[in-house]
Symmetry: C2
Subunit: 146 residues, 2 copies
């Protein structure tokens, strides 16, 4: 459980790679594919996702490419994961009839809320910069939120 998808993992690897280049260097999908040794179509797809999530800034045309939209310190793991796989929520109540009757006090559904909040918090506290500092360059996968 808590499994991160392979694609999300690739996305993280790509971001880490960007973070490890000093300065706002612009890199093309092809360059990233070579650097990470991942198939170009996949890299391309993920870069697009990351760009549309505003984690990367893109520039079209010749001399185009991607670069980090922000400083690595200002990007949290929570953001990355949320961008690539939707909200980080552990439980949601879905009663028999599809409508939660307890909806009112449900927002405070304590134990799950506690869990969600805790996970959210830790994920928010770790920045891309920390990942980059810690991760040996060249890993093409870090995978497996199991």
């Amino acid at each position: 459980m808590l499994r991160i998808s392979k694609l999300t993992d690739y996305g993280i690897v790509l971001l880490v790679h960007f973070a490890q280049r000093t300065g706002g260097t612009t890199l093309t999908a092809r360059e990233m594919a070579e650097a990470t040794e991942l198939p170009l179509p996949v890299v391309s797809k993920m870069l697009k996702s990351l760009a549309s999530a505003d984690l990367l800034a893109s520039q079209r045309g010749s001399r185009g490419g991607y670069q980090l939209a922000r400083e690595p310190e200002a990007v949290s793991v929570a953001e990355i994961i949320e961008a690539l796989e939707g909200p980080i929520v552990l439980m949601e109540c879905v009663p028999d009839d599809g409508v939660c009757e307890q909806a009112s006090h449900c927002g405070l559904r304590t134990p799950w809320q506690r869990i969600n909040r805790a996970i959210q918090t830790t994920l928010t506290q770790v920045s891309l910069a920390e990942l980059a500092a810690d991760m040996p360059p060249h890993h093409q996968s870090t995978l497996a939120i199991a």
Copy 2:
């Protein structure tokens, strides 16, 4: 992300149901299916899983059934999730050649370790009893670690 599978969710619902019955009442798969309004085969399957994970104790034959193997206070959410979907680990390193060269200092791969530990900790701190106390009886799903 952090998605819990539907089956695991059912498993939790079943456990909560047991926890909400006072005393170590024995219930059959059929009774559980009726109580939770979930299809019998599914309930049966999950009860078997829970039993083989030693979260439930089973008794065969007529007058058989299942009951909690332990007090609800002594069962953590971490345990339940691990039993039903394997280890709760967020990241594992898998470099190009399949063998992690940094294996030595890799065990301390800080940021991910930190994240994993935090998640593990919160999940361990919440008990089945707390879930049961907080969850209205009858929910047949609590789902969606999104």
